[in-house]
Amino acid sequence: MVAFSEPWLRRFQARVNADPEMQVIGDWFTTAFSLTCGDARCIVRFERGKLVETIASPRLDVRCAFGFRANEEIWTRFFAKNPEPLYHDFFAMLMRVPGFVLEGDTLAAMQHARALHRAMNVMRAVD
């Protein structure tokens, strides 16, 4: 899977930092979260709506508030160009796809629901 590789993270960073909606809604979006696919894990760190750091294979001293974890098959369906029902939105997957997990501080995740939702939707548009 291409997603979450270092080149992909750079493309995601450019894309989300150029997103006009995030520039409107991101003022309080200061947090870090992880994206885990099987054994591979990365962390993305936002400050005031800007993705300022992407860390592929983080060490244990890299902190994050929460994260999304799933296997490759689930992420592939999420990133499909025309996603099938139940895989078309991360809230749908949290409710209906048991292998898609929100881990860590779920309160922090939901405090950022709007910007987080936008970031995850922008992520799907990364080539």
């Binding site: 025309n82 996603p83 029902p85 139940l86 078309h88 939105d89 991360f90 809230f91 749908a92 409710m95 209906r96 779920t106 309160l107 939901m110 405090q111 629901a113 709007r114 939702h117």
Partner: protein
């Protein structure tokens, strides 16, 4: 100028006074429309403006108490808002009676799509029919405490939590419009509605009592709905002999607002069926 006219009416339900906002358009058979959890009658603006509907139906959409322009009842600050099946039915009946709607068709979406099944079970001889959008007889799993939490912006969470219930191909402006409506509900109102939808509501026994020779039943569910999945509506259809089932491609949980041009192609034949 749009043909929609909005008015208020005052109702008594269980000793409580409710000032209810409703809007209507058209003439003919009454079509009473029920909005979704945490939203209001604005979701029906396209239906109310559709002359293919309003030339045959008197379309009425109202805001439930606590929603839109209907106030909460006096003393609301002393009660946690929790909608129940019983309260919901009584309120709909009170509106239906106050507006003198004779043998109406009741159309509801999501929690409205659930309660139309209860109405069809209890009042089948006083109804022409029901149209359930995203109808389930039992829908656990939507409630969580974050929906009303002091550390979370409830409007933004409710709106974001429901945004993905729209189909990805629905026009963005329409899905965003629904987002806006959801962002506007009062503190705890969406949570109180979801309490009904996901915790109080269980119509699995009731649906078996619906006689479609007395009260017609049409069930329409969007294929992208993950709150009430097509499978959940299929179960309802199986339990109601004579009901009509349509699974709508390219549609999610909010057909009347997220993509009305596509939805109406599925709705108009059901409205014909109700009049036949």
């Amino acid at each position: 100028m749009e043909p929609i006219v909005g008015r208020y009416l005052t109702l008594q339900v269980d000793g409580q006074t409710h000032r209810i906002f409703f809007e209507e358009a058209g003439e003919g058979v009454p079509l009473l429309c029920l909005h979704t959890a945490g939203a209001d009658s604005r979701q029906y603006r396209h239906l109310l403006n559709d002359s293919a509907v309003t030339r045959r139906y008197r379309v009425v959409a109202f805001d439930m108490p606590y929603h839109g322009r209907s106030n909460p009842p006096d003393g609301w600050w002393l009660r946690k808002y929790r909608l129940t099946t019983d309260d919901y039915v009584k309120l709909i009946r009170a509106v239906w009676t106050a507006l003198d709607l004779t043998r109406p068709v009741v159309l509801g979406c999501s929690m409205g799509g659930a309660i139309v099944l209860k109405l069809a079970a209890e009042y089948q001889h006083q109804l022409r029919g029901v149209i359930g959008l995203e109808s389930s007889a039992y829908a656990p799993g939507r409630y969580n405490e974050y929906l009303h939490h002091p550390a979370i912006h409830g409007g933004e969470l409710a709106a974001s939590y429901t945004y993905g219930l729209c189909a990805p191909m629905s026009p963005e402006a329409s899905a965003r419009e629904n987002w806006w409506y959801y962002s506007q509900s009062g503190p705890g109102v969406y949570a109180g509605d979801v309490h009904f939808y996901s915790m109080d509501w269980d119509g699995r026994t009731d649906v078996g009592r619906i006689d479609t020779s007395a009260c017609k039943v049409s069930l329409l569910t969007g294929i992208y709905d993950y709150s009430c999945t097509p499978g959940m509506t299929r179960e309802v259809a199986r339990a109601i002999p004579g009901s009509r089932l349509v699974i709508m491609p390219g549609i999610g949980h909010f057909p009347m607002i997220e993509n009305y041009p596509v939805f109406r192609e599925f709705l108009l034949p059901e409205l014909d069926f109700m009049l036949a």
